[in-house]
Symmetry: C2
């Protein structure tokens, strides 16, 4: 242990000399495994990483699309720093002599199509998803049989703190979807859904409701060997064509009936909402427009808007929906996306008579801090 | 994709030529990340692993105390095989030029003091923990405040399938502890607690009860910098001296009252059991012997026995406990442990008048298959 501390000190001193401008207020990331000092983050949101690889010739820290070379010391410990990162959660990985591996120091998260490393950069507003001594709901791991898929499926369900003690109460339900390359693990883990809701409810800022977090990309047949990858415009594996339709059938025919049978829901459309991020927002838009008899509120996080024309052309849409929420990270909307300004589109929808809300997460991109903040905003509007 | 398949085929053909005796019926491990072909396991329980590391000079697959060298092909893909493994779950890691990393192909589990790779070797009796279309209980992630620790803590709680629909029913509770270097994640994940119970209950082989899986090593102050590691005879970091006492206070003063307040338990000692594996068994023994007013049944998996003398010398023990269950893996008891034969000790306890049961898991060691089987056996005796 003394040896490790000494090595760390030497590496740290070396770095400080080379980069005198970096603020030496690094702290271990909250996403580290217990007791692991590295990676660290300083108040400038610079990450300092460290990897032990005595026989390697090149070690890199790969985050936000950039690979940073680490520097080896005489003990085979590699250390280096990144450029300042955005606030919030980012996926990353380590490269050791051409092998892409998770960082053995970090906890692991599902995203970018794999279980791997993630790091949380402290945010000015992190209090809203902090673990506090308030009443906590449970996040339940749930297995159920899906007739649509003829398979057992897996989801997470948040029930508020009162659920297990106030047995006469029934609750509205939000169906909350992840993005492409992600899974049902995203919202409960890096999304911090349970903590966000517990804090909101404890502060009296949100109604109590159940949140169902299922997998929008599970229900796919494996492509035949040698078949061309199925395209949906995003060119990611794991996203079959027909993703919205396929998941809609699973959601409407299997998931919602299962949830209404197993949990004390208020099982009508007035008390049922759907939201999602990125691919999940596109699914939300497709499904809510096709099923006005099932839902009455919707949220699109970083994944599209609903125009006046779309609202007019979808049968029953205007009558069915009493809340439309659209959000983006500020870095996503600095330039109009394909000619569309989501703020203007949503303002037009509001002007046309719908209860439409638009939120922009400050200084974040297409990433989890945007979506944590989006849930925080959206949840305060729901079921009131 | 075609290129990857070709590489795999070449690597496979090379291996086959070199090791003609290996049965070519390898299948991807159930513990792999979705869509990952390697590591694979064959019917001889040999693992074939593959790692892409084009610039590395040495890559090893490290499992069950042995490091196996992998062989590099012209595309920088390293492949190799292990000796036959025991049935069930094993932790492992990859070494790339001196860097110990998780295998990017596997799911990650907490054990051996870190989150890292694990692999499940198919077992002849794996049906008892298979995911089936039976009624499933929920495994809940639960946060609560502990006065003893003045901190928020985290556990998992299994509630049986009927819990959310039969609102008039109350349930007995089993407190189930992990081993040293493990955490509250062990039983719900690699332990397969939920699936084991769902299958048992569906088959009518076990009563319905709640299972609380908490962290027996959390409640420790960080050692002061430079302080000698605290010893408890096991010399693992993360196991402070006083682990049984410290956890006993947390369990009796914080966890049990929290569970009895938040869930529909039968809150008396007749309906409360404790069990654990390895360190958790030692905690179970220490705590149940000290607290006969709290528990009435106990299980020790791979972590000790209770002798006639111990039963006689612990005030109230004989009167309080109507079930003592002791188990080991067969490889643990091939030779007597420190002169103690746990089978004889338990038979003597039974002969002295206590309801004592002894179980030996066939051809397994100090590992999860032993503990899955132990839970399967123990659960059938509980609360009947």
């Amino acid at each position: 242990m003394k040896k490790t501390l000494l090595i760390s000190f030497v590496a740290l001193a070396t770095c400080s000399a080379a980069m005198a401008q970096v603020k030496e207020d690094f702290k271990p990331a909250s996403t580290n495994q217990g007791g692991k000092e590295y990676p660290m983050v300083n108040s400038e949101r610079i990450i300092r990483a460290q990897v032990t690889a005595p026989d390697a010739t090149r070690v890199q820290f790969d985050i936000s699309g950039v690979k940073y070379d680490l520097t080896k010391d005489e003990n085979g410990v590699w250390t280096g720093e990144t450029a300042p990162q955005d606030e919030g959660f980012h996926y990353y990985q380590i490269w050791v002599d051409g092998a892409a591996t998770p960082d053995p120091n970090s906890l692991y998260y599902y995203g970018a199509g794999r279980w791997g490393s993630g790091i949380d950069i402290p945010a000015h507003d992190e209090d809203f998803y902090a673990l506090k001594n308030v009443p906590h709901g449970d996040v339940r791991e749930v297995y159920y049989y899906s007739q649509t898929n003829d398979a057992m499926r897996h989801c997470y369900i948040y029930t508020p703190a009162s659920y297990d003690t106030d047995l006469n109460k029934r609750y509205p339900v939000l169906y909350l979807q992840h993005g492409g390359g992600e899974s049902e693990h995203g919202w409960p883990q890096q999304g911090k859904t349970g903590l966000i809701m517990d804090n909101l409810i404890a502060a009296g800022l949100a109604e109590e409701f159940i949140i169902v977090m299922d997998n929008g990309s599970w229900a796919r047949p494996r492509p035949a060997e040698g078949a061309a990858p199925q395209g949906n415009g995003q060119r990611r594996p794991g996203l079959p064509s027909g993703w919205a339709d396929g998941f809609m059938n699973t959601l409407v025919n299997d998931i919602i009936p299962m949830v209404d049978a197993r949990y004390r829901t208020i099982a009508d459309r007035e008390h049922r909402a759907m939201a999602g991020l990125s691919m999940g927002a596109m699914q939300t838009k497709a499904i809510t427009m096709a099923k006005p008899e099932v839902f009455s509120k919707l949220g699109l996080f970083s994944g599209g808007t609903i125009s006046v024309e779309e609202a007019d052309n979808a049968p029953g849409f205007r009558e069915a929906y009493d809340l439309v929420f659209v959000s983006y990270g500020s870095r996503e909307v600095e330039k109009p996306r394909g000619g569309i300004d989501p703020g203007k589109t949503t303002a037009d929808l509001k002007a046309s008579g719908m209860n439409a809300h638009y939120y922009v997460s400050p200084e974040t991109a297409h990433e989890w801090q945007t979506w944590r903040r989006s849930l925080y905003q959206f949840a305060q509007l729901l079921f009131k």
